[in-house]
Protein backbone atom coordinates (compact mmCIF):
# COMPACT_ATOMS: atom_id res chain seq x y z
CA UNK A 1 0.00 0.00 0.00
CA UNK A 2 1.29 3.44 -0.88
CA UNK A 3 1.27 5.85 2.01
CA UNK A 4 1.33 8.80 -0.34
CA UNK A 5 -1.41 8.97 -3.00
CA UNK A 6 -0.25 12.07 -4.85
CA UNK A 7 3.27 13.43 -5.03
CA UNK A 8 4.62 16.34 -7.08
CA UNK A 9 8.34 17.08 -7.02
CA UNK A 10 9.66 20.27 -8.61
CA UNK A 11 7.01 20.23 -11.32
CA UNK A 12 7.03 23.07 -13.86
CA UNK A 13 5.02 23.89 -16.95
CA UNK A 14 5.48 26.91 -19.21
CA UNK A 15 2.83 28.59 -21.33
CA UNK A 16 3.30 31.84 -23.24
CA UNK A 17 1.32 33.81 -20.64
CA UNK A 18 1.44 31.58 -17.58
CA UNK A 19 4.12 29.63 -15.75
CA UNK A 20 3.52 26.90 -13.21
CA UNK A 21 6.74 26.78 -11.27
CA UNK A 22 8.45 24.32 -8.96
CA UNK A 23 5.31 22.67 -7.59
CA UNK A 24 5.78 20.34 -4.62
CA UNK A 25 2.77 18.50 -3.24
CA UNK A 26 2.34 15.50 -0.97
CA UNK A 27 -1.07 14.01 -0.22
CA UNK A 28 -1.15 11.12 2.30
CA UNK A 29 -3.59 8.27 1.62
CA UNK A 30 -6.81 8.56 3.63
CA UNK A 31 -6.92 12.34 3.78
CA UNK A 32 -8.51 15.28 1.98
CA UNK A 33 -6.51 18.12 0.52
CA UNK A 34 -8.16 21.45 -0.20
CA UNK A 35 -6.41 23.33 -2.95
CA UNK A 36 -7.10 27.05 -2.72
CA UNK A 37 -6.29 29.76 -5.21
CA UNK A 38 -7.79 32.74 -6.99
CA UNK A 39 -9.09 32.30 -10.53
CA UNK A 40 -6.14 31.73 -12.87
CA UNK A 41 -3.75 30.82 -10.04
CA UNK A 42 -2.85 27.45 -11.56
CA UNK A 43 -5.26 25.08 -9.77
CA UNK A 44 -6.71 23.55 -12.92
CA UNK A 45 -3.32 23.25 -14.66
CA UNK A 46 -1.95 21.41 -11.62
CA UNK A 47 -4.96 19.09 -11.61
CA UNK A 48 -4.61 18.43 -15.34
CA UNK A 49 -0.96 17.48 -14.85
CA UNK A 50 -2.02 15.19 -12.00
CA UNK A 51 -4.49 13.49 -14.38
CA UNK A 52 -1.93 13.22 -17.17
CA UNK A 53 -4.08 15.47 -19.39
CA UNK A 54 -1.26 18.03 -19.57
CA UNK A 55 2.38 16.93 -19.56
CA UNK A 56 4.81 18.78 -17.29
CA UNK A 57 7.99 20.25 -18.83
CA UNK A 58 10.05 19.09 -15.85
CA UNK A 59 9.67 17.43 -12.46
CA UNK A 60 8.23 14.14 -11.20
CA UNK A 61 4.57 13.32 -10.63
CA UNK A 62 3.42 10.10 -8.95
CA UNK A 63 -0.26 9.25 -8.56
CA UNK A 64 -1.22 6.08 -6.64
CA UNK A 65 2.33 4.90 -7.20
CA UNK A 66 2.26 5.40 -10.97
CA UNK A 67 4.59 7.88 -12.68
CA UNK A 68 2.64 10.47 -14.69
CA UNK A 69 2.01 10.90 -17.53
CA UNK A 70 3.62 7.54 -18.48
CA UNK A 71 1.50 5.44 -16.12
CA UNK A 72 -1.76 7.30 -16.63
CA UNK A 73 -3.72 4.36 -18.07
CA UNK A 74 -3.08 2.29 -14.95
CA UNK A 75 -3.55 5.20 -12.56
CA UNK A 76 -6.85 6.31 -14.06
CA UNK A 77 -8.52 2.99 -13.29
CA UNK A 78 -8.51 4.09 -9.67
CA UNK A 79 -9.17 7.81 -10.09
CA UNK A 80 -12.55 9.49 -10.17
CA UNK A 81 -12.31 12.90 -11.80
CA UNK A 82 -14.90 15.67 -11.97
CA UNK A 83 -14.21 19.06 -13.46
CA UNK A 84 -16.34 22.00 -14.47
CA UNK A 85 -15.62 21.64 -18.16
CA UNK A 86 -16.57 17.98 -18.23
CA UNK A 87 -19.68 17.59 -20.38
CA UNK A 88 -22.26 14.89 -20.01
CA UNK A 89 -24.25 13.99 -23.12
CA UNK A 90 -27.25 16.37 -23.18
CA UNK A 91 -29.90 14.33 -25.04
CA UNK A 92 -29.33 11.22 -22.86
CA UNK A 93 -30.73 10.54 -19.39
CA UNK A 94 -28.76 10.11 -16.18
CA UNK A 95 -29.76 6.42 -16.18
CA UNK A 96 -28.16 6.06 -19.64
CA UNK A 97 -24.94 7.60 -18.31
CA UNK A 98 -24.96 5.31 -15.31
CA UNK A 99 -25.30 2.23 -17.56
CA UNK A 100 -22.61 3.55 -19.86
CA UNK A 101 -20.05 4.09 -17.07
CA UNK A 102 -21.01 0.78 -15.47
CA UNK A 103 -20.22 -1.03 -18.74
CA UNK A 104 -16.72 0.46 -18.80
CA UNK A 105 -15.50 0.11 -15.21
CA UNK A 106 -15.05 -3.04 -13.14
CA UNK A 107 -15.82 -1.59 -9.71
CA UNK A 108 -19.21 0.05 -10.33
CA UNK A 109 -21.23 -0.12 -7.10
CA UNK A 110 -24.90 -0.21 -8.18
CA UNK A 111 -26.50 -0.13 -4.69
CA UNK A 112 -24.29 2.87 -3.77
CA UNK A 113 -25.30 4.60 -7.03
CA UNK A 114 -28.98 4.11 -6.07
CA UNK A 115 -28.30 5.55 -2.63
CA UNK A 116 -26.55 8.56 -4.16
CA UNK A 117 -29.54 9.19 -6.46
CA UNK A 118 -31.70 9.56 -3.36
CA UNK A 119 -29.22 11.57 -1.32
CA UNK A 120 -28.57 13.97 -4.19
CA UNK A 121 -32.28 14.12 -5.02
CA UNK A 122 -31.70 13.19 -8.69
CA UNK A 123 -34.11 11.45 -11.07
CA UNK A 124 -32.43 8.85 -13.33
CA UNK A 125 -35.00 9.23 -16.13
CA UNK A 126 -34.29 12.96 -16.50
CA UNK A 127 -32.32 14.12 -19.53
CA UNK A 128 -29.01 15.89 -18.83
CA UNK A 129 -29.99 18.98 -20.86
CA UNK A 130 -32.98 19.53 -18.54
CA UNK A 131 -30.84 19.58 -15.38
CA UNK A 132 -29.85 22.68 -13.44
CA UNK A 133 -26.15 23.48 -12.90
CA UNK A 134 -26.25 21.99 -9.40
CA UNK A 135 -27.96 18.83 -10.62
CA UNK A 136 -25.34 18.39 -13.35
CA UNK A 137 -22.52 18.72 -10.83
CA UNK A 138 -24.18 16.17 -8.58
CA UNK A 139 -24.79 13.84 -11.56
CA UNK A 140 -21.11 14.01 -12.55
CA UNK A 141 -20.11 13.43 -8.93
CA UNK A 142 -22.44 10.41 -8.70
CA UNK A 143 -20.84 8.88 -11.80
CA UNK A 144 -17.36 9.37 -10.28
CA UNK A 145 -18.26 8.19 -6.73
CA UNK A 146 -20.11 5.01 -7.75
CA UNK A 147 -16.90 3.72 -9.35
CA UNK A 148 -15.47 3.60 -5.83
CA UNK A 149 -12.17 5.16 -6.91
CA UNK A 150 -9.20 5.16 -4.52
CA UNK A 151 -8.49 8.76 -5.45
CA UNK A 152 -11.11 11.44 -6.14
CA UNK A 153 -9.93 14.54 -7.96
CA UNK A 154 -12.49 17.32 -8.02
CA UNK A 155 -11.98 20.64 -9.73
CA UNK A 156 -14.23 23.19 -8.00
CA UNK A 157 -16.92 20.69 -6.91
CA UNK A 158 -18.92 23.19 -4.87
CA UNK A 159 -18.69 26.25 -7.11
CA UNK A 160 -22.12 27.52 -8.14
CA UNK A 161 -24.02 25.12 -5.88
CA UNK A 162 -26.86 26.31 -3.68
CA UNK A 163 -26.38 25.83 0.09
CA UNK A 164 -28.47 22.64 0.20
CA UNK A 165 -26.58 21.00 -2.67
CA UNK A 166 -23.24 22.10 -1.18
CA UNK A 167 -24.18 20.52 2.13
CA UNK A 168 -25.11 17.25 0.36
CA UNK A 169 -21.88 17.21 -1.63
CA UNK A 170 -19.62 17.95 1.37
CA UNK A 171 -21.40 15.25 3.38
CA UNK A 172 -20.84 12.70 0.61
CA UNK A 173 -17.16 13.62 0.31
CA UNK A 174 -16.70 13.06 4.05
CA UNK A 175 -18.55 9.72 3.75
CA UNK A 176 -15.94 8.59 1.20
CA UNK A 177 -13.25 9.19 3.81
CA UNK A 178 -14.88 6.70 6.21
CA UNK A 179 -12.67 4.25 4.29
CA UNK A 180 -9.11 5.17 5.18
CA UNK A 181 -7.73 3.80 1.91
CA UNK A 182 -9.46 6.55 -0.05
CA UNK A 183 -8.10 9.99 -0.76
CA UNK A 184 -9.57 13.24 -2.08
CA UNK A 185 -8.01 16.28 -3.67
CA UNK A 186 -10.35 19.15 -4.42
CA UNK A 187 -9.81 22.68 -5.58
CA UNK A 188 -11.99 25.54 -4.48
CA UNK A 189 -12.09 29.22 -3.91
CA UNK A 190 -14.65 28.70 -1.18
CA UNK A 191 -12.38 28.80 1.87
CA UNK A 192 -15.21 27.90 4.23
CA UNK A 193 -15.73 24.49 2.59
CA UNK A 194 -12.00 23.85 2.62
CA UNK A 195 -11.64 24.90 6.25
CA UNK A 196 -14.38 22.54 7.33
CA UNK A 197 -13.49 19.27 5.62
CA UNK A 198 -9.80 19.40 4.67
CA UNK A 199 -6.95 17.67 6.45
CA UNK A 200 -4.29 19.28 4.29
CA UNK A 201 -4.41 22.77 2.86
CA UNK A 202 -2.42 24.15 -0.04
CA UNK A 203 -2.46 27.76 -1.27
CA UNK A 204 -1.47 28.47 -4.83
CA UNK A 205 -1.01 31.91 -6.41
CA UNK A 206 0.36 32.99 -9.76
CA UNK A 207 1.62 29.51 -10.57
CA UNK A 208 3.47 28.94 -7.28
CA UNK A 209 2.66 27.10 -4.07
CA UNK A 210 2.43 29.84 -1.44
CA UNK A 211 1.98 27.55 1.56
CA UNK A 212 1.04 23.94 2.32
CA UNK A 213 0.47 22.26 5.70
CA UNK A 214 -1.93 20.25 7.85
CA UNK A 215 -5.04 22.28 8.60
CA UNK A 216 -4.70 22.40 12.37
CA UNK A 217 -1.08 23.53 12.16
CA UNK A 218 -2.08 26.05 9.54
CA UNK A 219 -4.81 27.62 11.67
CA UNK A 220 -2.61 27.50 14.78
CA UNK A 221 0.36 29.36 13.45
CA UNK A 222 -1.54 32.38 12.10
CA UNK A 223 -2.57 35.09 14.57
CA UNK A 224 -3.27 38.81 14.62
CA UNK A 225 -1.68 40.64 17.55
CA UNK A 226 -3.18 43.95 18.59
CA UNK A 227 -0.55 45.92 20.47
CA UNK A 228 -0.23 49.23 22.21
CA UNK A 229 3.18 50.90 22.07
CA UNK A 230 4.75 53.69 24.13
CA UNK A 231 5.07 56.98 22.21
CA UNK A 232 8.01 56.75 19.82
CA UNK A 233 8.65 53.04 20.53
CA UNK A 234 9.56 50.72 17.67
CA UNK A 235 7.71 47.51 16.84
CA UNK A 236 8.83 44.47 18.84
CA UNK A 237 11.22 42.30 16.88
CA UNK A 238 9.13 39.17 16.27
CA UNK A 239 9.67 36.47 13.66
CA UNK A 240 7.13 35.84 10.93
CA UNK A 241 5.46 39.24 10.74
CA UNK A 242 3.54 39.13 7.46
CA UNK A 243 1.65 42.38 7.65
CA UNK A 244 1.62 45.49 9.82
CA UNK A 245 -1.64 47.40 9.99
CA UNK A 246 -3.36 49.70 12.45
CA UNK A 247 -1.68 52.91 13.58
CA UNK A 248 1.69 53.94 15.01
CA UNK A 249 0.73 53.52 18.67
CA UNK A 250 -1.83 50.78 18.02
CA UNK A 251 -0.24 48.44 15.51
CA UNK A 252 -1.90 45.21 14.38
CA UNK A 253 0.59 42.50 13.41
CA UNK A 254 -0.31 39.51 11.28
CA UNK A 255 2.03 36.64 12.18
CA UNK A 256 2.48 33.29 10.41
CA UNK A 257 4.44 31.39 13.04
CA UNK A 258 2.72 32.34 16.26
CA UNK A 259 3.99 31.04 19.58
CA UNK A 260 2.46 32.01 22.97
CA UNK A 261 5.98 32.93 24.15
CA UNK A 262 5.72 35.93 21.82
CA UNK A 263 3.30 37.57 24.25
CA UNK A 264 5.86 37.77 27.06
CA UNK A 265 8.45 38.91 24.51
CA UNK A 266 6.12 41.82 23.67
CA UNK A 267 5.76 42.66 27.38
CA UNK A 268 9.52 42.73 27.86
CA UNK A 269 9.72 45.01 24.86
CA UNK A 270 7.34 47.36 26.64
CA UNK A 271 4.42 46.75 24.31
CA UNK A 272 0.98 45.93 25.73
CA UNK A 273 -0.79 43.04 24.06
CA UNK A 274 -4.42 44.10 23.80
CA UNK A 275 -5.72 41.08 21.94
CA UNK A 276 -4.66 37.94 20.10
CA UNK A 277 -7.11 37.13 17.29
CA UNK A 278 -7.29 33.78 15.59
CA UNK A 279 -7.94 34.04 11.85
CA UNK A 280 -10.27 32.30 9.44
CA UNK A 281 -8.77 30.46 6.50
CA UNK A 282 -10.06 33.20 4.24
CA UNK A 283 -8.25 35.91 6.21
CA UNK A 284 -5.09 33.79 6.21
CA UNK A 285 -5.31 33.21 2.47
CA UNK A 286 -5.81 36.90 1.65
CA UNK A 287 -2.98 38.03 3.98
CA UNK A 288 -0.67 35.36 2.58
CA UNK A 289 -1.32 36.19 -1.07
CA UNK A 290 -1.08 39.96 -0.53
CA UNK A 291 2.23 39.75 1.29
CA UNK A 292 3.60 37.39 -1.39
CA UNK A 293 2.58 39.74 -4.18
CA UNK A 294 4.08 42.73 -2.38
CA UNK A 295 7.39 40.90 -1.93
CA UNK A 296 7.46 40.13 -5.64
CA UNK A 297 6.80 43.71 -6.73
CA UNK A 298 9.14 45.19 -4.09
Amino acid sequence: MNEISVQFEAVSKRYPHFVLENIHLKLPTGSIMGFIGANGAGKSTTIRILMGLVHQDSGQVHVLGHPMPAGQAAAKRDIGFVSEDMRLYGPATLAWHMKFVQSMVPNWDAPYAEKLLQRFDLKPQQKIKGLSHGQRVKAALLLALARRPRLLVLDEPTTGLDPIARHEVLGELMAVLADEERTILFSSHNTQDVEQISDQITFIDRGQIVDTDGKEVFLDRWRRLRLQLQPGAALPNLPGIIQVGGSERLPVLTINCFDPAMLSACQRWGATVQAVDSMTLEEIFVANVHSRREQVTA
Binding site: S31, A175, A178, K215, E216, T272
Partner: protein, 146 residues
Amino acid sequence: MHSEPILSQFVISQSDARPMYLQIMEQIRQRVAVGEWSPGDEIPSIRQLAVATRVSVITIKRAYLELEREGVIVTQHGKGSFIAPNPDLNPRIYDEELDERLEQAARLGALLGLAEDELAERLREATTRLTENQTTESTETIRETV
Protein backbone atom coordinates in the same frame (compact mmCIF):
# COMPACT_ATOMS: atom_id res chain seq x y z
CA MET B 1 -20.81 0.89 18.28
CA HIS B 2 -22.90 4.04 18.16
CA SER B 3 -25.55 4.43 15.49
CA GLU B 4 -25.82 7.49 13.33
CA PRO B 5 -28.63 9.35 15.13
CA ILE B 6 -26.47 9.69 18.24
CA LEU B 7 -23.51 10.94 16.23
CA SER B 8 -25.40 13.45 14.15
CA GLN B 9 -26.33 15.39 17.25
CA PHE B 10 -22.87 16.91 17.36
CA VAL B 11 -23.46 20.41 16.09
CA ILE B 12 -20.60 22.62 14.95
CA SER B 13 -21.30 26.34 14.90
CA GLN B 14 -19.69 28.36 12.17
CA SER B 15 -20.40 31.63 13.93
CA ASP B 16 -18.59 30.38 17.03
CA ALA B 17 -15.16 32.01 16.97
CA ARG B 18 -13.55 29.07 18.77
CA PRO B 19 -11.67 26.54 16.65
CA MET B 20 -13.69 23.48 15.66
CA TYR B 21 -11.58 21.07 17.73
CA LEU B 22 -12.45 23.03 20.90
CA GLN B 23 -16.15 22.86 20.06
CA ILE B 24 -15.90 19.09 19.60
CA MET B 25 -14.01 18.74 22.91
CA GLU B 26 -16.61 20.74 24.77
CA GLN B 27 -19.50 18.72 23.36
CA ILE B 28 -17.86 15.45 24.34
CA ARG B 29 -17.20 16.77 27.86
CA GLN B 30 -20.82 17.86 28.15
CA ARG B 31 -22.05 14.39 27.13
CA VAL B 32 -19.95 12.91 29.88
CA ALA B 33 -21.06 15.57 32.36
CA VAL B 34 -24.77 14.90 31.84
CA GLY B 35 -24.20 11.14 31.90
CA GLU B 36 -25.08 10.35 28.27
CA TRP B 37 -21.64 8.81 27.96
CA SER B 38 -20.43 6.94 31.03
CA PRO B 39 -16.93 5.92 32.09
CA GLY B 40 -15.83 2.91 30.05
CA ASP B 41 -18.27 3.59 27.16
CA GLU B 42 -16.86 3.22 23.69
CA ILE B 43 -17.13 6.47 21.76
CA PRO B 44 -17.21 6.83 17.95
CA SER B 45 -13.94 6.33 16.10
CA ILE B 46 -12.21 9.43 14.75
CA ARG B 47 -13.35 8.65 11.22
CA GLN B 48 -16.94 7.91 12.23
CA LEU B 49 -17.22 11.21 14.04
CA ALA B 50 -15.54 13.07 11.16
CA VAL B 51 -18.05 11.66 8.67
CA ALA B 52 -21.02 12.35 10.95
CA THR B 53 -20.05 15.96 11.74
CA ARG B 54 -18.58 16.70 8.27
CA VAL B 55 -15.43 17.94 9.94
CA SER B 56 -11.98 16.85 8.77
CA VAL B 57 -10.36 13.77 10.30
CA ILE B 58 -7.35 15.81 11.38
CA THR B 59 -9.57 18.13 13.48
CA ILE B 60 -11.35 15.27 15.26
CA LYS B 61 -7.99 13.59 15.82
CA ARG B 62 -6.72 16.72 17.53
CA ALA B 63 -9.82 16.95 19.75
CA TYR B 64 -9.34 13.29 20.80
CA LEU B 65 -5.63 13.81 21.49
CA GLU B 66 -6.33 16.83 23.69
CA LEU B 67 -9.12 14.99 25.52
CA GLU B 68 -6.74 12.12 26.09
CA ARG B 69 -4.14 14.48 27.49
CA GLU B 70 -6.78 15.92 29.82
CA GLY B 71 -7.81 12.47 31.01
CA VAL B 72 -11.37 12.55 29.64
CA ILE B 73 -10.91 9.67 27.20
CA VAL B 74 -8.49 6.82 26.68
CA THR B 75 -7.54 5.40 23.29
CA GLN B 76 -6.43 1.79 22.92
CA HIS B 77 -4.74 1.13 19.63
CA GLY B 78 -6.69 -1.27 17.49
CA LYS B 79 -9.61 -1.23 19.93
CA GLY B 80 -10.99 2.29 19.85
CA SER B 81 -11.58 5.22 22.18
CA PHE B 82 -13.39 5.05 25.50
CA ILE B 83 -14.49 7.44 28.23
CA ALA B 84 -11.85 7.32 30.98
CA PRO B 85 -12.68 5.47 34.25
CA ASN B 86 -12.54 8.75 36.18
CA PRO B 87 -12.90 11.44 33.55
CA ASP B 88 -11.43 14.77 34.51
CA LEU B 89 -13.99 17.28 33.21
CA ASN B 90 -12.27 20.41 34.39
CA PRO B 91 -11.17 21.83 31.06
CA ARG B 92 -7.57 22.87 31.42
CA ILE B 93 -7.76 24.92 28.27
CA TYR B 94 -10.36 27.26 29.81
CA ASP B 95 -8.20 27.51 32.86
CA GLU B 96 -5.31 28.74 30.75
CA GLU B 97 -7.61 31.09 28.88
CA LEU B 98 -8.92 32.52 32.15
CA ASP B 99 -5.38 33.22 33.34
CA GLU B 100 -4.62 34.92 30.06
CA ARG B 101 -7.73 37.13 30.26
CA LEU B 102 -7.13 37.99 33.88
CA GLU B 103 -3.63 39.12 32.97
CA GLN B 104 -5.15 41.25 30.26
CA ALA B 105 -7.59 42.70 32.78
CA ALA B 106 -4.74 43.40 35.20
CA ARG B 107 -2.86 45.24 32.46
CA LEU B 108 -5.89 47.34 31.55
CA GLY B 109 -6.44 47.99 35.26
CA ALA B 110 -2.89 49.30 35.55
CA LEU B 111 -3.51 51.42 32.45
CA LEU B 112 -6.56 52.95 34.14
CA GLY B 113 -4.59 53.40 37.36
CA LEU B 114 -6.88 51.11 39.37
CA ALA B 115 -5.78 49.79 42.75
CA GLU B 116 -5.86 46.06 43.34
CA ASP B 117 -9.10 46.04 45.35
CA GLU B 118 -10.76 48.38 42.85
CA LEU B 119 -9.99 45.87 40.10
CA ALA B 120 -11.31 43.02 42.27
CA GLU B 121 -14.48 45.04 42.89
CA ARG B 122 -14.97 45.46 39.12
CA LEU B 123 -14.73 41.69 38.67
CA ARG B 124 -17.33 41.17 41.38
CA GLU B 125 -19.63 43.68 39.63
CA ALA B 126 -19.16 41.86 36.32
CA THR B 127 -20.08 38.55 37.97
CA THR B 128 -23.22 40.09 39.46
CA ARG B 129 -24.23 41.59 36.09
CA LEU B 130 -23.81 38.19 34.42
CA THR B 131 -26.02 36.46 37.00
CA GLU B 132 -28.66 39.19 36.65
CA ASN B 133 -28.62 38.96 32.85
CA GLN B 134 -29.04 35.22 32.98
CA THR B 135 -32.01 35.58 35.29
CA THR B 136 -33.66 38.18 33.02
CA GLU B 137 -33.06 36.00 29.97
CA SER B 138 -34.66 32.97 31.52
CA THR B 139 -37.58 35.07 32.78
CA GLU B 140 -38.08 36.32 29.23
CA THR B 141 -37.99 32.80 27.87
CA ILE B 142 -40.59 31.75 30.38
CA ARG B 143 -42.74 34.75 29.45
CA GLU B 144 -42.46 33.87 25.76
CA THR B 145 -43.37 30.29 26.44
CA VAL B 146 -46.39 31.37 28.48
